[in-house]
């Protein structure tokens, strides 16, 4: 990049700084760009113990993403790793939940081994698709 661009520093730091950490925005570096926040639900059908939700993103490449789920009341968990989350209403049982993206979808998979519910269980999901690509 030539001697042009846009730089915005944190309060109290001069734009002569050469440390990228001092910048709120520096056009020398890409910033992660997020689509609008989306809320949805994951519904585990009564009598079953697993569910997979497939959410199309239409980007044509695998994007970065952030996703969180309310797996217990007012307790939100990240789904970036393969998570094992105790089921507060059923001590001794746990949800196994994970997520991934590919070139077409964000996919969230959840199971609760050895456990079923008498009624449908609905979990709130919030996700952000980052349009910057993993690959």
């Amino acid at each position: 990049m030539g001697d042009y661009g846009l730089k915005i520093t944190r309060t109290g730091v001069a734009t002569t700084s050469t440390d990228p950490r001092d910048y709120v925005l520096w056009s020398k570096y890409k910033s992660l760009k997020s689509q609008a926040r989306v809320t949805t639900t994951l519904v585990l059908i009564a009598g079953t113990s697993s569910i997979t939700k497939t959410i199309p993103h239409d980007l044509g490449y695998s994007p970065l993403f952030f996703v969180a789920a309310e797996m217990n009341s007012n307790k939100w968990y990240n789904l970036h790793a393969i998570q094992t989350i105790p089921i507060d209403s059923s001590p001794g049982f746990a949800y196994a939940i994970s997520s991934y993206t590919n070139s077409t979808n964000l996919v969230i998979s959840m199971s609760c081994p050895g456990k079923t519910f008498a009624t449908n269980q609905t979990y709130n999901i919030t996700y952000f698709i980052i349009i910057d690509e993993i690959v």
Binding site: T39, Y61, F66, N74, K75, W76, Y77, T84, I85
Partner: protein
């Protein structure tokens, strides 16, 4: 958004024709904004926001290795966030709380 805003293309690309993913910056998109970046042991930490924020947490293990969230095999609950706190059931946490909200 109408036909206005700020776009910055990567070096060598025409800002008028570059794909969005090739932009350094576009005001068409949200930037995930960090409200707090800190470390914590096993603890309940007030995040000071009036809603449930998005967060990301890395845990340090074997001295210098970092894994996202709860991939470190511990017993008990996984890190999670409520309307008032972020809860770390286990230690060695390096976390980012975003301004952007989950609920």
């Amino acid at each position: 958004m109408g036909d206005y805003g700020i776009k910055i293309a990567i070096d060598g690309q025409d800002v008028e024709t570059a794909l969005d993913k090739n932009l350094v910056y576009s005001s068409k998109y949200n930037g995930m904004k960090i409200a707090k970046h800190n470390t914590s042991g096993a603890a309940t930490v007030s995040h000071g926001l009036a809603y449930v924020p998005m967060f990301i947490n890395y845990r340090r293990y074997e001295g210098t290795k970092f894994r996202i969230d709860s991939q470190v095999p511990d017993l008990g609950d996984a890190p999670h966030v409520t309307t008032s706190n972020i809860i770390f059931p286990n230690g060695n946490n390096y976390y980012f709380i975003f301004v952007d909200h989950a609920a």
